[in-house]
Amino acid sequence: MSHLFALPWLLPTPPDFRARAKALARSSTPDETEARRLASYAMDFSDLEMLGKAVRAQVNSWGAKSGFTPFKIGIVSSHTMDYVAAALPGTGLRHGVLIDVVLADYGQAAQQLLEPASEFASRNLDGVLISLDYRALGFADLRLNAREAAETVSAAVDYVSSLADGVRNTIRATCILQTIVPPSHAIFGGLDARIPGSPRAMTERFNARLLQEVARGKDLVVDAAFLACQVGLHAWNDARGWHKAKLPASLDAVPLYADHIGRLLGAARGKARKCLVMDLDNTLWGGVIGDDGLEGLVLGQNSVVGEAHVALQRFILDLRRRGVVLAVCSKNEDATARLPFREHTEMVLEENQIAVFMANWSDKASNLREIAATLNIGIDSLVLLDDNAREREQVRQVLPEVAVPELTEDPADYITLLADAGYFEAVGLSEEDMARADFYQANSERISLQKVGNLEEYLRSLQMVATISSFDAIGRVRIVQLINKSNQFNLTTRRYSEGEVEAFENNPFKFCLRVRLADRFGDNGMISVVIFDIGSDEWSCDTWLMSCRVLGRRIEELVLATVASAASNAGAKRLVGTYIPTEKNALVAEHFAKLGFAKLSELADGASTWALDLETYRSPELPIRVVYANELSPAAVSHA
């Protein structure tokens, strides 16, 4: 993935870009679609200047009848904003906004905003950006006196607060505040964070107070501090550029910075995207469901790629929670495409969270049109996430209004690219947004933290859900992995190959189960594997292992209760266990004793055997909710 400065979610500009931008500027019938196409490339500063000239030349011919919405923005600053100003009109087209910039000379903020007869007051501005630098607010020099530091910050907050009032009351425009980017050097080092008068601490204190005390509901905020952090302060700040021309950031940062302002103005004008349309194969999951089948999909705990796809689904679920509508557009048979949603245990997204599900063999552009029509939203409200470069190209060609992020070959990059593109920029979280995400409230209640007094309360507060399944093809890879790499919590340390594990799946004399554990902090994945040999009077433990991550969660007791119940129902009288010591498994030497087994024998090599009488065994009450999956039920076992 290329550097954030290069806007890596956009295609690079084609060789004829500058010629096309010049042609657009000269055209007597300027083509809006061509303008959109040009703006969708990753323009550098000089490209943006050129497209900006075209916008200025054509602003009147587009005007109100175009699909672009005008926004006249005034900028007051403590530094040189000319380059950002020059980049904004070209950037605006990308976000559906025709931006006209009125730039105050630097250092003229108060004069323009507080004086009713100022130029700004006479220009009918839609909004005013107050862009200040840490140096202008007195944060550049260390203040060793904490009180002086607090006063410096307060003075800065008061100053910006009165500028903001000027925008609201004198200019009567939308107030656009900006967080302050801290300097990239420390004076003490890490201690700067704890010295109230360090440049960094004063900047951070100011930003916190800006958001709490100055920003009002209808104001917009450009979070330049976060943007600079994303980029890296060393890359963002440019000492040489500051000394030469009072540049607030490196010239290389200008396209990205302008894009963040552009997307914010777009969002304020209702131009943010509303719906994420997702491809399935190799986008939501690894592999092709039609070819690889459920067992062949790469999704979840088993692999780096699988984790990346799960993480992407979680991110998308968060987008849905905040009100982004989800749709599927996949070249597949409908039933095949829905199968993972219904049966794959690692899927995060659920079928009922998808507003429109289009799985067929038509071209994607036609499907996207239909999705927009079904949802009754514009085609320019759609974002298409698709790993396939040819599909992306086809959609860009036919429907330039759809945003189609460029992706790398690596699914681990997808969240970053989708998030950094800012398609779903929001200016606030409305009641409507939250209502759209139906289970938002229930979820936030479940997550609210409670203080707990003892272990039992703690375990209950975890809201654990264990999913117990017999061995099956979907879990096989992870089962084999656990069997072959678990050393500590492993009673017998018997290793089995994938073929052997597969054979266990249908062996009527093996009772095999795997356990997944989720809690309110997330999904721990598969954490325990158990194999018992089924006999008529006694069941004997072949393998019992568990991930040490979930020690002390009473999972062993749950597993025992499950096995004991199945064995009792099958008519067995007792369970037998063996502990085979290794260099690494001393942890479980007393495992069977702790579960109430009686020792039968101890052998010379240290191995011991244990038995549990099923007639006197009583299963304990556990702070874990249990879900039985794939026909794992005592009834099925009793036929063995």
């Binding site: 500063f45 380059y83 040489r240 030469k244 010239l251 290389d252």
Partner: protein
């Protein structure tokens, strides 16, 4: 870039003398200037300054230098930026600093 690299190895000569390398540098620099200052008529001469070029002002100077840096693959020091008096001096710096 490749062309320059090859030429430099065969033809590196002391600064100031018109060499093949310098000619290539001139051509690339003037191409950047024509594009940046939007003037296709610009012709290279060593003593060309901002006063001679419409569109070359303190504002366009910064992106101009940035384009030169990107195109020739090096970064001006602050002292070099301070010292530049005309295009000939700029080309001297480029020929001294361009990475090979």
């Amino acid at each position: 870039m490749t062309l320059i690299v090859t030429v430099l190895r065969i033809d590196a000569k002391p600064e100031g003398k018109p060499t093949m390398l310098r000619a290539v540098g001139e051509a690339r620099l003037i191409a950047i200037m024509r594009d940046t200052f939007d003037d296709d008529e610009l012709v290279y001469r060593d003593d060309l300054t901002a006063d001679d070029v419409i569109g070359w002002d303190s504002l366009s100077h910064v992106p101009f230098l940035a384009t030169v840096e990107k195109s020739f693959g090096f970064r001006f020091t602050s002292a070099e930026i301070d010292s530049l008096k005309n295009i000939g001096e700029l080309l001297d710096v480029i020929l001294r600093r361009a990475t090979i």
